[in-house]
């Protein structure tokens, strides 16, 4: 009894400072150093910004950008209130007319206010995710097929190799023309501009995903393939039990790569084609040329960067969730 207490005391007496120092060095590495980096950047930014004069006034420093964040958000709230009021008025009007004349069929008109900064963020996010998911749906089955079959690989490889280095922005005019030629439903489910941006995103996601999936599938340990042969696994079960799990790390590498590029390309495409989204916001502000424009663009730049970062982290988290080999996900 006695010895135990003494030992415990000794144990803690010895161990605690060590634990403390590990905790401390972790805290420094994970919190203090990044914080210092950010502070230094902000300082450098505000000092440099003051020295740059543009035709639209001084280059915005951190505080100007913060102000614009505030302004953008309250603009968004005001717009939402307006929208709400619009629908309320419409409803009241319709109710009144129906009361006067029961045969009247009320018309419901959509609110057509200008998209706010938040709306543009949401649009861009929806666009990038839809384009990305469409690419996943095409590229992963295709990549698996190409990885499994040498014949198919030889057939598809030249096409992939040629299209891979093409900037998806070069596709944009073609996509736009094709979409307006083919997408002629009288009551479109989604806007043409959305389709254009989405397909551009898909085109840029496709190649890295096909290549990485195919490489992953082709590189499966031949012993594992032999196991499957000895078991006489049917083709679908072979893909499900052996091929997919074995190539999950490579598939995710391709997906992360694609999503990163897709986000960059989407912003550029929105700027170029004036399609709704963050890119259009940036372009509009640039065209607008008010004294706040640069600060607003800078705010958009920060948001774009932050969202790109979150998308990457999200993919990483997803990879950790589905992958058996977590050492690959870092």
């Amino acid at each position: 009894m006695n010895t135990t207490t003494v030992n415990t005391g000794k144990f803690y007496g010895f161990r605690l400072p060590q634990l403390n120092s590990i905790w401390l060095s972790n805290a420094i590495r994970l919190v203090a150093l990044p914080l210092a980096g950010i502070l230094a950047f902000l300082l450098l930014w505000s000092v440099t910004a003051q020295k740059i004069d543009t035709s639209l006034g001084k280059f915005p420093g951190p505080s100007a950008v913060m102000e614009q964040f505030d302004a953008l958000y309250s603009e968004h709230q005001r717009s939402r209130e307006k929208e709400h009021a619009f629908y309320e008025r419409q409803e009241a009007r319709n109710a009144k007319r129906v009361a006067e004349d029961p045969s009247y069929v009320p018309k419901i008109r959509a609110y057509t206010g200008k998209e706010t900064f938040v709306d543009q963020i949401v649009t861009s996010l929806i666009t990038v995710m839809s384009g990305f998911l469409l690419a996943v749906a095409i590229a992963i089955p295709l990549g698996i097929a190409v990885g499994l079959s040498k014949t198919l690989n030889s057939a598809v490889n030249p096409i992939v190799q040629i299209f891979k280095p093409v900037s998806p922005l070069a596709w944009l005019p073609l996509v736009t023309m094709v979409v307006s030629a083919l997408y002629t439903t009288p009551e479109p489910l989604v806007a043409k501009s959305f389709l254009n941006s989405m397909i551009t995103v898909t085109l840029c996601c496709l190649w890295p995903m096909v290549i990485n999936t195919a490489v992953g599938v082709a590189g499966i340990d031949s012993d594992l393939v032999n196991v499957s042969k000895v078991l006489r696994l049917p083709a679908l079960r072979h893909v499900q039990k052996i091929v997919l799990p074995a190539s999950v790390p490579m598939i995710f590498t391709g997906m992360r790569l694609s999503l990163g590029v897709a986000w960059m390309v989407l912003i550029a495409a929105e700027m170029l084609a004036q399609n709704p989204g963050l890119g259009k916001f940036v372009w509009d502000e640039f065209q607008n040329g008010s004294s706040d424009s640069l600060a607003r663009i800078m705010a958009a730049v920060l948001v774009i960067g932050f969202i790109g970062f979150l998308l990457d982290r999200g993919m990483l988290a997803l990879q950790k969730l589905v992958s058996w080999d977590n050492s690959a996900a870092q």
Binding site: D221, L224, N226, V227, K229, V230, L231, R232, L233, K241
Partner: protein
């Protein structure tokens, strides 16, 4: 007892950029139900090729393999393979690895509960019950090899094919595994073809030892019948005269008569083999990896 497996005059040629490479020439072997046969020979002579032809993973260029009167044309679970490096699926637990095989073989004939019992029974057979819900990454090399054996046994194969199953294990683990294998074989009376580099292992486990000549165009050089009584115990056999004679015969074949022509082609070759042989006698009984045949 009747012939279960007939490896009938097989030749194996591999297409290479420099033209076809003849790995095997006229390998002919008949194996009976319940027999334990070892294949021994120098590295690269073509042992794995023989095994892969029997497994159906390779197609022989000439000749063929007949199992129970039917020609083998593709791989199948009645010829289960224990691969050299275990080849477990790393994303499945030991239990799930065996389950994949059991579902495939008995999915229609056994109920869920029966399959579960059968999987657990086989894992118990190789003494892996305690770690059956661990993944290959979490267990030792010997344990992985055990699971690989359990997976193969669980398929209830007509022939169990093992490619250097214990090659990657340390001596102690290997001895344990050999004992387990002898126990299992005594219980189930499996027909086994096992490739090995280890002379002691071959003599201890086998009913017959098939010694292969060096490649290219390797073939069966000599077959040694091992008539030691079972059950065999390694410690008792260590001083057994007959055991040591068998051992010596295999060693002699490997070190002196490894050449296809039975006679070393040049004098320098003979000297080289002699020195290697005497060096081998001193410390180890494994086959050296690098005795080339300048054919």
């Amino acid at each position: 007892m009747s012939v279960l497996l007939d490896i009938s005059h097989i030749d194996m040629e591999f297409p290479t950029p420099k033209g076809p490479f003849t790995a095997l020439r006229d390998v002919d072997l008949k194996i009976q139900q319940g027999e334990f046969v070892s294949l021994i020979g120098h590295s690269g002579c073509g042992k794995s090729t023989v095994l892969n032809v029997v497994a159906g993973l390779y197609q022989a260029t000439r000749g063929g393999v007949i199992l129970n009167g039917k020609e083998v044309t593709e791989p199948g679970p009645e010829r289960a393979v224990v691969f050299q490096n275990h080849s477990l699926l790393p994303w499945l637990t030991a239990y799930e690895n065996v389950e994949l095989a059991v579902k495939q073989v008995f999915g229609k004939s056994k109920s869920k509960a029966e399959m579960r019992q059968w999987i657990e029974h086989n894992l118990e057979l190789v003494h892996m019950s305690h770690a059956m819900h661990k993944r290959p990454g979490e267990i030792s090399g010997g344990m992985k090899q055990r699971v690989g054996i359990a997976r193969a046994l669980a398929m209830q194969p007509k022939v169990l094919l093992m490619d250097e199953p214990f090659g990657a294990l340390d001596a102690l683990t290997r001895a344990h595994m050999q004992d387990s294998l002898m126990e299992i074989q005594a219980e189930l009376n499996n027909t086994v073809i096992m490739i090995t580099h280890d002379v002691d292992e071959a003599v201890l486990l086998s009913d017959r030892i098939v010694m292969m000549t060096n490649g290219p165009a390797a073939t069966i050089g000599e077959i040694l019948d091992v008539n030691l009584e079972r059950p065999r115990h390694r410690l008792e056999l260590a001083d057994d005269v007959q055991y040591n004679q068998y051992r010596a015969k295999v060693l002699k074949f490997l070190h002196e008569r490894h050449s296809k022509t039975d006679v070393p082609t040049t004098r320098s070759m003979a000297q080289k083999t002699e020195t290697t042989a005497s060096a081998m006698k001193k410390d180890s009984t494994s086959v050296p990896e690098s005795v080339d045949n300048a054919a």
